[in-house]
């Protein structure tokens, strides 16, 4: 995983803790190798270089694609795993440089899950398009690692991969795990909120690290797949609690994509959320 990962287990057995950590690490690595778009030796690479040919995928990939299809349908196209190509036009380095309308328009031609033929287990991606599980891969890895740890211990634990996490149970003495929500401007220094988590997933979307400044406005790195532009007037960060980390992560991304309507959107969904 391309970010700090940790596993907290409440146990007196050091060996057990080490074993559970190893399980989480191995699962995180497995998922990263399998779904990273930066590697040349995995299925994602072959799909992205298939040049319009049908590719048969394995069961796990098929399920992730099914999940992404559901997200796409339920969000009216705002959540789209083919939108990664738009990142080529953008460099979120805090500068004021934005790409030309023309280059964004060109890339938009290669975005749109509805243009992909998906008939389990065969995926046909038109030439020039790419898929990217970056938006759900980390959350998926958290849930997977949590599931595997849960099968091996009765202790309470937290799996945290780069800020997306899953918590199970309460600590001894009925205490909860405390999860801090960072001030996006001062990552890792001070927590703005402390929330008390019991079983479930927590995930955050935001622009803490990557943004550009355009006409005095700060634009975060999450791109709207319909316009090819970052979401304007979006909150700095949206944290959502859900039953799984995947659910929390997807909802926080969808809410962020609503821009100024993020708060209303989450209120309608009746989920626990924190907006900064």
């Amino acid at each position: 995983m391309a970010s700090p990962c940790s596993v907290l287990v409440e146990t007196d057995d050091r060996a057990e803790a080490a074993e559970l950590l190893a399980i989480a690490e191995e699962e995180a690595r497995r998922i990263e190798l399998k779904f990273s778009r930066y590697r040349r030796d995995n299925l994602v690479y072959r799909i992205n270089h298939s040049e319009g040919r049908p590719i048969e995928v394995d069961e796990e990939t098929a399920l992730l694609i099914d999940y992404a299809t559901t997200c796409y349908a339920m969000s009216d196209g705002m959540f789209d795993i083919t939108s990664g190509v738009l990142r080529r036009a953008w460099t979120f380095d805090g500068s004021t440089r934005v790409p030309s309308r023309h280059s964004v328009q060109r890339l938009l031609k290669h975005v749109g899950w509805s243009r992909v033929q998906w008939s389990n287990p065969t995926l046909t991606l038109p030439a020039g398009m790419e898929i990217d599980f970056g938006g759900i891969g980390k959350e998926y890895a958290v849930d997977r690692a949590a599931t595997m740890i849960a099968q091996r211990t009765r202790s309470s634990f937290v799996v945290n991969f780069g800020g997306d996490l899953f918590v199970r149970g309460v600590r001894r003495g009925d205490r909860t795990w405390g999860v801090g929500i960072d001030d996006p401007t001062r990552t890792g220094e001070s927590a703005l909120y402390r929330l008390d988590a019991t079983t479930g997933g927590i995930a955050t979307s935001g622009d803490a690290r990557r943004f550009v400044v355009y006409r005095g406005k700060r634009l975060g790195h999450i791109l709207n797949p319909k316009t090819g532009w970052p979401v304007e007037d979006a909150p700095r960060s949206v944290t959502v609690a859900g039953r799984t980390c995947l659910e929390a992560g997807t909802l926080s991304t969808l809410a962020y994509l609503q821009g100024p309507r993020a708060r209303t959107y989450l209120e309608e969904l009746a989920v626990q959320f924190w907006i900064v």
């Binding site: 497995r30 399998k34 040349r40 030796d41 995995n42 299925l43 072959r46 270089h49 298939s50 040049e51 040919r53 590719i55 048969e56 995928v57 394995d58 069961e59 796990e60 399920l63 992730l64 099914d66 999940y67 559901t70 349908a73 339920m74 969000s75 009216d76 705002m78 190509v85 080529r88 036009a89 460099t91 380095d93 500068s95 440089r97 790409p99 280059s103 060109r106 031609k109 038109p126 030439a127 020039g128 849930d143 997977r144 099968q151 709207n224 979401v231 859900g242 039953r243 799984t244 995947l246 659910e247 997807t250 909802l251 609503q258 821009g259 309507r261 309608e268 969904l269 009746a270 989920v271």
Partner: protein, 426 residues
């Protein structure tokens, strides 16, 4: 930016939750097994690269060189490549002789007629075809070590080359540092048309046997990621050549020591060993969208040649597949210690002598650019590189004698080179 038809919020949550559970409830054991078997032979990423070079020198050589390369990438990161290239060469090349001031015509040992008009450098016409095969095999060993081994075979009318090379690269410090060590050997054979002449003789054939030339080279390189947008590399290499290093058709004029009029021509002769060394620094810098590639090389060899090469390319990326990359290259070399404009009649013959302008003091300037594009919905990437290369030497060397002072002894050579490339994965 907005939901066009808002779904009932609870439906969205429930659908996501159901989909997430479907995904997460797959037993871990099943996934661990399915992961490695995703190797699907029908969708292996094979790649074809085709390039065609069109090369022309003003009034001299022209070359057409198509090359096709197949690459097969395997599941575990190994790759195999095979390449075939053909060179079709026609034109004329300077023989090394000096202008005579009179019309000059004569016949060479190889049966080729050499003619030139009074004040111009004599050239010899030639045509040739060259075939080249290259193959390499790249294999990762674990997460940080990669090896590459390669082979080469090429043949033309009077030259054959057989080579092998190997390279090992290791990533250290979380892939921020890469150390590369490599080496190669070549076994070449030169069999001049009409036989081999003795060096510094008037074209008397002494042997019809072929001549051997062997080359061994080593390279060590370090490259480092300096920041999120900057990479630097340093390479040092050394190459040792041994055997027949002479150009069989190049001649050296023998001049009248006072008038400068060429009296006769001798075949050239070069030492039979040469050690070449070079150090090179390279940098790649990524601006917000554009990239700057730069490199500098210092080269020296045991023939007394020193050279500096500066290479700059600036890549403007319009989007992921379209770019324009202007390029500039500056090169300057000093002369080999046995390079001579012409020998003087009556003086004792030196051990070695060559008038090949490529061993003289020389500057090369290249300007050009590369354009890369992909046509909408048409698979594959296209590149076009066009370059103008201008070479100039010392047109009026101070030691020129008599009539030679009237001539341009090193007229600038203008070269154009256009490469069209197409790359396609399937």
């Amino acid at each position: 930016m907005q939901l066009e038809k808002p779904k009932p919020p609870s439906a969205l949550r429930d659908a996501l939750h159901t989909a997430a559970l479907a995904l997460l409830l797959v037993p871990a054991a099943t996934q661990a097994q399915t992961a490695p078997t995703t190797a699907n032979t029908s969708d292996s990423p094979d790649r074809i690269d085709v390039t065609s070079l069109f090369y022309g020198e003003q009034g001299r050589t022209s070359i057409f060189e198509p090359v096709v390369r197949f690459t097969h990438l395997m599941q575990d990161g190994q790759s195999l490549s095979g390449q075939f290239g053909l060179d079709v060469i026609t034109g004329a090349s300077p023989t090394g002789e000096l202008p005579s001031g009179q019309v000059q015509t004569r016949t060479s040992a190889s049966g080729r007629t050499i003619t030139s008009s009074a004040g111009t450098l004599p050239t010899a016409p030639f045509s040739d075809r060259r075939f080249a095969f290259d193959g390499d095999w790249k294999k990762p060993w674990g997460r940080v070590v990669t090896s590459t081994i390669g082979g080469h075979f090429s043949r033309e009318k009077d030259y054959q080359s057989l080579g092998a090379s190997g390279m090992i690269a290791t990533d250290l410090e979380h892939r921020l540092l890469t150390i590369t060590i490599g080496g190669g050997v070549n076994r070449d054979t030169v069999f001049p048309v009409g036989g081999t002449t003795a060096g510094l003789s008037s074209s008397a054939i002494i042997s019809t046997a072929s001549n051997q030339k062997s080359v061994a080279n080593v390279l060590i390189g370090v490259s480092r990621v300096m920041s999120r947008r900057w990479m630097l590399a340093v390479n040092a290499s050394e190459s040792h050549e041994n055997g027949y290093l002479t150009e069989p058709y190049k001649l050296v004029s023998v001049l009248n020591p006072t008038s400068g009029v060429p009296l006769t021509s001798l075949t050239e002769k070069r030492p039979s060993t040469r050690t070449r060394s070079s150090v090179m620094g390279s940098s790649v810098y990524h601006f917000t969208q554009d990239l700057l590639y730069s490199s500098y090389r210092y080269y020296w060899d045991t023939w007394g040649i020193r050279s500096h090469t500066l290479d700059l390319k600036y890549r403007h990326q319009f989007d992921d597949t379209t770019y324009l990359e202007p390029l500039l290259r500056f090169y300057t070399q000093s002369a080999a210690n046995f390079y001579t404009g012409g020998l003087l009649q009556g003086n004792p013959l030196p051990d070695f002598a060559s008038s090949d302008y490529r061993l003289g003091a020389l500057n090369t300037i290249t300007v050009g650019g590369t354009y890369g594009l992909r046509w909408n919905d048409f698979p594959g990437d296209w590149t076009v590189r066009a370059q103008l290369i201008r070479q100039s030497g010392n047109s009026s060397p101070p030691n020129a004698i008599g009539v030679q002072r009237r001539f341009d002894l090193s007229p600038p050579v203008n070269i154009y080179a256009v490469v069209v490339g197409y790359s396609f994965g399937y």
